[in-house]
Symmetry: C2
Subunit: 122 residues, 2 copies
């Protein structure tokens, strides 16, 4: 389900966060589906439960999962997720736009790039 890349300098808990975000957004995990328990996943990955705990807490903070004490962690409703993810992407595109402005790079270059990129994928 998820794995760890020890050669990656990204903190383990962050790798886990990113992978679950991908799985959830891709639809590989469906709404209200239970994800592995803190202890189980820790065993499976041969890492400490505290690290999984930290990853799950972050996923909950960002709205990707919800927690029920004594029962486990579950995937948040799909509509909410799409909104969250869309907001994130819009923040990122805004950041790149600001970066381009500050550097004197024409926004139209970005638009053209996205447009040609979109076409070539049809």
């Amino acid at each position: 389900m998820v794995w760890i890349d020890i050669k990656d300098s990204t903190p383990i808990y962050e790798q886990i966060v990113n992978q679950f975000k991908n799985l959830i957004v891709r639809g590989a995990l469906s709404t209200d589906e239970k994800i592995p328990s803190v202890r189980n996943l820790a065993m499976e990955l041969s890492i400490n439960p505290n690290t999984i705990q930290k990853a799950y807490a972050e996923l909950e903070r960002q709205g990707y999962i919800y927690t029920v004490k004594g029962r486990g962690n579950f995937v948040s409703p799909r509509e909410e997720l799409m909104e969250i993810k869309k907001s994130e992407i819009m923040e990122h595109i805004e950041a790149v736009a600001v970066e381009a402005e500050k550097s004197g790079v024409d926004i139209n270059h970005l638009i053209d790039y996205l447009r040609s990129r979109n076409k070539s994928e049809d």
Copy 2:
């Protein structure tokens, strides 16, 4: 010229790198202009010279400045810089596009956003 935000968790050397990149790209520092010496800037900011050294090494690695031993550090030629910066921005926009695809967000949303954003600034 540059400053440090101790409340910012970003490493000091990275803050300095980012600020010089901004100054250079904005044109606040011109081609072949000398930037403060390692020791001077360290004194001014009340931090260790090694930290400035690390920042300057990174700036040189990224092509923003060039170093002449015994003389100091200087801003790279403007044309090269614009190319470097443009490449960086294109990498970023590509990353956002990939992110959008993976999440099922239509690239046209991004294009529309950039387009309306561009218009409203006229």
